[in-house]
Symmetry: C2
Subunit: 140 residues, 2 copies
């Protein structure tokens, strides 16, 4: 069933692949202003959260729970933002964003605020290490 | 445990109570531009989605699934938006918004776009009827 899944080109362009947990790709947004993860279930053709059925929905929501909890602790976030929107990129994807008081969009949502700031190589490496360690912690 | 739960005053001010399903209050945003529901688990002190534990998390996410699915069908929505943000109102609440192509914020998220437009009495009555019927369908 996953054979015909292809990541939406815009998600691919805007993110760095971190890893995979269960049926979900875990992607890091290329925007150094926020610790911003996107998870994408590798099921072709889904656009709505509620199109995930049965154990797929349960598994994805368990991953959201765990990632949100781990990210809040590890990144000392003040607030986690979790959202499935998809008005512009219809392929089902779920945002999990660690918000820090005073960050570039605070207290507004992050979408459409200013322009993405590229990571430096070192900052990107550090961020990927952090998320790899979170994923190992989750799956380990 | 629910005895000391009090709805955040800002949520109370901005919404009309529709009903209750399981442990969640179902509120309608007083903004005629969008069919916009907010669900609030009646558990004191929660701010993060991941603070819902075990069967509470499962029950709330099942309600989100059902409401999103029913709203999309009944309101002929083009896209459902589901989000737990809470940067301004920390009490845990989950937005479920039926988006229509060309609505007042499309394709942007709804938060912070323009000003809420009050419902007329008739439109509010009709909207409440629709949601009551959705709730009866869910719980029936």
């Amino acid at each position: 069933m996953n054979m015909s899944f292809t990541l939406d080109p815009r998600l691919e362009k805007d993110t760095v692949a971190i890893g995979k947990v269960g049926l979900c790709q875990i992607l890091l947004m290329k925007d150094a202003r926020f610790s911003w993860i996107i998870i994408v279930p590798e099921i072709p053709g889904l656009t709505e959260l509620h199109e995930l059925q049965g154990s797929d929905y349960k598994d994805v929501m368990t991953l959201v729970h765990t990632l949100s909890s781990e990210m809040k602790a590890r990144l000392s976030a003040h607030k986690m933002n979790v959202a499935a929107l998809g008005n512009m990129v219809p392929q089902l994807h779920i945002h999990i964003i660690a918000r820090i008081e005073g960050d570039a969009a605070w207290p507004s949502p992050v979408w459409g605020v200013g322009t993405a700031v590229p990571y430096t190589d070192i900052a990107l490496e550090r961020q990927i290490e952090t998320f790899n360690s979170i994923i190992i912690n989750i799956t380990g």
